[in-house]
Amino acid sequence: MRAVDSCKRKLRIGTFDYFGAGVSPEDIFGVLFTDDNSFSCEPLHVSTDFMVFGPQNHCLYPIILVNNTMDIIEDDEQLGETSEQDSELSDGELQDAFAKGLLKPGLNFTTQEPKKIVNNVEGLKQCLADFRKNTLPWIERLDMVNLPADDIVAKSEGRLDNKASEDINPDDDFQREMFFYRQAQEAVLEAMPRLLKLKIATKRPEDYFAEMAKSDQQMQKIRKKLITKQIMMEKSEKAKKLREQRKYGKKVQVEVIQKRQREKKAMMSSVKRYQKGMTDKLDFLEGDQKTAKGGAPAKGGAPAKGGAGKGSGGQTPDKKAMNKKGPNAKRKYKDQRFGFGGKKSGTKWNTKDSHNDVSGFRAKVAHGKGGKGGKGGKAGPGGRGPAKGGAKRLGKNARKKMKGRS
């Protein structure tokens, strides 16, 4: 039987004390066991062939294999040492080792010894002692050993102040760099008084011009880069704010439009209902009236054709409020009529949109509500003019007749 094992070159057959009687190391023989618990002893060739009996070969008892001693490790390290004949560990030595008790019974495996890392502490200390220049005063070396300074930010946030360098996470760039920065700070804070005592300055005088480590050109480049960075940041901030504002403004606008549309819809539906005769009350106009009363006189006055005095007269009820609301209504009307080159042709077409557009619909004017009483009283001294503009607008033929008459 041949051994088929990965570390075959290192296996040996050893002896074991099966019988209880002391087997002398000289009598090496392999004991072959079979399944029916019988055994036979036979001498073996203790040479390059060796037999491996293990549980996989359906044997009851494993054969003792020799544990690797230090000699064999050296074999491992000498790469290319594959031939068993050159193996240094002879059987005689094995026998001796077993006798001394270095080998234990049982299945032993070859193990690689862990690689020795050199750490010659004594040597290091000796070297340091030789190398150190003890004659140098501190002023020549300027070395400090210090922990980093207190981290104000972390303390204010209540975080644990990790002072030791083992605590920091080397992958967290910001934390690491801040740690180095604080260490440098602490060194400076400690060294300043010492340097002052020894009369060494750390600040150079204003007129001291000397060559710097980085040229002026380099510093200019750096400065420019910093400025551009700053500008970019500001721009992005502005853009962000603008976007936010626009979003908000859009929201508000949408809401206002929706509200207007809802009101218009409600008004139109109530008007339709009245027209169709479903309701006979004109309650829906109530809401309109209250607002219209304040606004109507002003609105009635403004559209008067070129009537300057009437415009001012019409404004009296809430003049200040009207003045606040941007350009005058009169101004607006004039702009609309004469501004940007005057009236354009084609502004009055009966398109679908213009037909559907009921923004020019004034309920009060249409029904003549509140206009007759208010207008008649207020604009009395004005004469015929206001009567013409404030009251309900007559039909085309009626107007023609009126025109002819006046």
Partner: protein, 342 residues
């Protein structure tokens, strides 16, 4: 360099007030200013006895092997700018063994050496050595950022003396203590060095994190320790410490060090193993597909919907079914009326 020969300490062609060096005994500058106005040849503005105070004769040789890239070259230049007690040398041939460096240093009369070695045009190794007898250490340099980077906004006097700051961890282990001593002697500018400036306006920090040594250089702006980074910056990963200069018995080996080749290999193997796994899975699937599958004769779900009802005879309709009479509801009120009554 001016074409005019300038006497040491004499006036330049500009004739303006030269830099006034701060002197230990500060009474000298006053007299020299007056003398400058009268005479052409002027005595040096600094007391000459102070020049002999330069006792700490440290000289560092900074050079490299062939095959370095631009970043390493700039780093070397930056180190020479920062440390006025350095000397440069030409690139060393790769054929020469490392102990040749000792001879080069001797020729240049240097007693420390910073040697940069580039391998595979990718990895940068740095040797810090005390040349004649002393210890030397080899590092792997990573994360190099030079002075010229625009993010390093600080500036300092060329050749001003640095303050060195070390992490307390440097005092705990003997190998770190040795490294600390080596760094102090190499990086600190000697006082009264002819090319140095008398002010202390920047700090070198050495910190140990993640089993590596991090180097930073900060400018001191204010006395209250507000700082800006000048650069350069790099990270040193210790490989070995030797007792001799560029040789000798190993005193310390870093157990946490993983060579860059191993690192790349690990990454490659990881990707390779992932690919291999995918392939294996695919092959297994193929195998399964081509396997002889046993034909299932009886469907297990056949009798799920079997309802035990008796069969009805099949009835075929020959006539069409009668049409359904749809009656319109004439009694529904009109829509308008319905609305009104609502």
């Amino acid at each position: 360099m001016s074409a005019l020969k300038r006497k040491r300490g004499g006036k330049g062609p500009g004739g303006k007030a030269k830099k006034v060096k701060l002197v230990e005994n500060g009474n000298k500058p006053q007299t020299t200013e007056m003398e400058q106005n009268k005479e052409i040849t002027v005595p040096p503005p600094v007391d000459i006895t102070t020049w002999t105070n330069w006792r700490n004769k440290e000289r560092v040789l900074v050079f490299s092997s062939r095959g370095i890239n631009f970043r390493t070259r700039h780093l070397m230049q930056d180190l020479r700018t920062m440390m006025p007690h350095t000397k440069a040398d030409t690139k060393m041939d790769r054929k020469d063994k490392l102990f040749v460096i000792n001879e080069v240093c001797e020729i240049k009369n240097c007693n420390k050496c910073l040697f940069f070695e580039a391998k595979k045009k990718q990895d940068l190794y740095m040797w810090v050595a005390n040349v004649p007898h002393g210890p030397s250490a080899k590092f792997l340099v990573q994360n190099v950022h030079t002075l010229a980077e625009l993010k390093m906004t600080g500036n300092c006097l060329k050749g001003s003396r640095p303050l060195l700051s070390f992490d307390p961890q440097f005092d705990t282990e003997p190998h770190y203590a040795l490294l600390k001593e080596l760094f102090i002697q190499t990086f600190s500018t000697p006082q009264y060095h002819p090319r140095s400036q008398p002010f202390v306006d920047h700090v070198f920090t050495f910190t140990i994190t993640d089993n590596r040594i991090w180097f930073r250089n900060y400018q001191i702006i204010e006395e209250d320790a507000s700082m800006v980074e000048i650069g350069p910056r790099f990270v040193l990963n210790l490989i070995k410490i030797f007792q001799g200069s560029f040789g000798g018995p190993t005193l310390f080996e870093n157990p946490h060090f993983e060579s860059p080749n191993t690192h790349r290999r690990v990454i490659r193997m990881a990707t390779a193993s992932r690919l291999r796994e995918k392939q294996m899975v695919k092959e297994l699937q193929k195998l399964k597909r081509t396997e002889n599958k046993e034909a299932v004769t009886r469907d297990v779900t056949d009798d799920v919907f079997a309802t035990p009802a008796e069969e009805r005879p099949v009835h075929i309709e020959l006539e069409a079914p009668a049409a359904k009479v749809v009656k319109k509801n004439k009694h529904k009120a009109f829509k308008r009326q319905r609305k009104q009554n609502r």
